[in-house]
């Protein structure tokens, strides 16, 4: 577009003012992100002044193929996929259901909307601590509730599989609001005329949903699916707050952090192995890319089918 604010030297002013923001982005975010690939071929540590050597594919070989540690790593990769699957499907379905319900004329719908959305802003620490208390195993509310049915649980202190499942619950509790809000925004763009016409034709609730709401909601469906998939592949903060670094519960994000910064507890210990952690980051990147792209392709095809 034509630039109106002078010529010659003053034509450079936009570039000059743009520079600080761009440089910051390259130096703090984009550069480091891409440099992860370079670091993954080295034996870098987190210690200042320690020499950094090129080790080729050693980190990858060790991460994927070497002994028990590699099996643990692959288990963490598997757990990340399981976490992603359950969080995405449940959060998506629940968010959609709640949004469709709240899109009706209902008394108190603003209250419900605000309540469900609120945990989003609390952050992982507060979300985690609130649930640690709610899941208090010695006579806490949920423990007492389950006791009615004769069920006992240690919740977060239980066997790894069960503790892991509770993190999924908290993750969905914490983020369902975002999914709901995006669906609600999408629902509001659907013209009331369609619903009016369907009502005149005598369509029932399910027919209205399947033939009007669902297809016309495609943009929000795409956004939510992609955000949920990528977000849950990368999320691990709640594991940190709720469980700590516990064997049998780690996901890939936590593993990267723990190996890179040696912040572990319990039976698993590690030092600052940043080259190795960088290789794990690249594994995660490939996962996000492959799954993200697959979802994207499926969504595009579906959109072409519906809209075309």
């Amino acid at each position: 577009m034509t630039y109106h604010f002078g010529r010659g030297r003053s034509r450079w002013l936009p570039y000059l003012l743009l520079l600080p923001g761009i440089i910051a982005y390259f130096v703090v975010a984009l550069g480091p992100s891409l440099a992860t690939a370079v670091f993954s071929f080295t034996d870098a540590t987190g210690l200042p002044g320690a020499p950094v050597n090129w080790v080729g594919l050693d980190n990858y070989r060790e991460f994927l193929f070497l002994g028990q540690a590699a099996r643990d790593n692959l288990n963490a990769v598997g757990r990340t996929l399981i976490f992603c699957f359950f969080v995405t499907t449940i959060q998506f379905a629940l968010g959609l259901l709640v949004a469709v319900i709240l899109n009706q004329k209902l008394r108190g719908r603003n209250f419900f909307r605000t309540l469900y959305f609120m945990p989003v802003i609390l952050g992982a620490v507060i979300q985690g601590l609130i649930w640690s208390l709610f899941l208090y195993p010695l006579g806490g509310p949920l423990a007492e509730f389950l006791a009615i049915f004769g069920v006992r649980s240690e919740f977060l202190g239980a066997q790894p599989t069960e503790a892991f499942a509770w993190v999924i619950v908290v993750q969905i509790w914490a983020n369902m609001g975002t999914t709901m809000i995006i669906f609600l925004a999408g629902l509001q763009t659907i013209s009331a005329e369609y619903y009016e016409a369907a009502r005149i034709d005598g369509a029932n609730r399910w027919q209205v949903f399947a033939n009007i709401t669902w297809p016309l909601l495609t943009p929000s469906v795409n956004t939510n699916l992609l955000l949920n998939v990528i977000g849950s592949l990368q999320a691990w903060q709640l594991f940190l707050v709720l469980l700590g670094y516990r064997n049998g519960t780690q996901v890939l994000g936590y593993l990267i952090y723990a190996t890179g910064f040696g912040q572990t507890s319990g039976s698993v210990t590690s030092s600052f192995r940043q080259g190795y952690a960088a290789a794990a980051s690249i594994v995660m990147f490939v996962m996000v890319l492959v799954i993200g792209m697959t979802v994207q392709t499926i969504l595009r095809r579906r959109e072409a089918r519906i809209m075309g």
Partner: protein, 282 residues
């Protein structure tokens, strides 16, 4: 669809099962959302011995001492001040630089504007920057240093995308008219564009601030001196020490939750518009 037709039809049909089921579902779900919060409030008002005897007993005689104890022992004033300093300074730097990045990109006043925008969009997919970022801060001598910590938060690619989209709705004729009147580029962006894009700026400010305020990974990695801890880190450390004393811990958590909830009620509009920006168009 006016309210009158609604009343008439509901009078004709005495029982709307769909609505009833909707309410039932909403209330059940509300219990899952309110339950943990009510437990937090109740526990914060109880004494430790009585909590240990019966974890879900109601705080019939509220005990407010937990709050004073938590406030003091958890070093709240110090950590809160740190969090405020980090959040305000990083957000200010970020938003000012972001406007000058977003405006020329939205207008095409710089070459390769489309490429630049794409660089911000792909950030969502890129590998975590954690390791090289750490090496960078370490080599700059900014490890365990508030300045280095603030530096980590002066970028936010999604914010740029939100600003670009909003600036595109500001008519281009304005630029021409202002330039004809002799208004310079800087003054135009700063005193004419900035006020016009206030809703988008507010959204970005709110989203970015919440992100910094709630961050727990980066302070754990970068700040080892407890004089520099933000409140999130302070709370985790406090949990490590007082984790078994739930009433005091609950009081600490509640003191941090309440202001966020109140703030949320005021800022909800901006958070919602930030999260839904561009999502409905696809």
């Amino acid at each position: 669809m006016s309210t009158t037709t609604g009343t008439v039809s509901s009078r004709r049909k005495p029982m709307d099962w769909g609505k009833l089921a909707s309410y039932g579902f909403l209330v059940l779900l509300a219990l899952v959302y309110l339950g943990p919060l009510l437990m937090l409030v109740n526990t914060s008002l109880r004494t430790t011995p009585s909590f240990n005897r019966d974890a879900i007993g109601l705080a019939v005689q509220p005990n407010f001492e937990n709050f004073a104890e938590a406030w003091e022992k958890a070093n709240f004033p110090k950590y809160l001040l740190n969090s405020v300093v980090y959040t305000v300074s990083a957000t200010t730097i970020y938003v000012i630089t972001a406007v000058f990045v977003a405006f020329p990109i939205a207008r095409g006043y710089v070459r390769y504007a489309g490429v630049l925008l794409t660089l911000f969009v792909i950030a969502l997919f890129l590998p975590p920057a954690l390791i090289p970022q750490f090496q960078l801060i370490l080599r700059l001598g900014l490890y365990n240093n508030p300045i280095g910590y603030i530096l980590l938060f002066i970028v936010n690619p999604i914010g740029i995308v939100i600003l670009v989209n909003y600036i595109k709705t500001v008519p281009q004729e304005l630029d021409e008219a202002a330039a004809l009147d002799g208004c310079g580029y800087f003054r135009f962006v700063w005193s004419i564009v900035l006020p016009l894009i206030r809703p988008a700026v507010a959204t970005v400010v709110v989203l970015h601030s919440i992100g910094i305020w709630n961050e727990i990974i980066l302070p754990t990695i970068y700040l080892t001196n407890d004089d520099f801890y933000p409140i999130t880190r302070g709370l985790i450390v406090f949990q490590g020490v007082y984790g078994s004393d739930w009433p005091v811990l609950a009081a600490a958590v509640l003191m941090l939750t309440l202001p966020m909830v109140i703030l949320f009620l005021f800022l909800q509009r901006y958070i919602v518009s930030g999260l839904t920006a561009g999502s409905v168009k696809g």
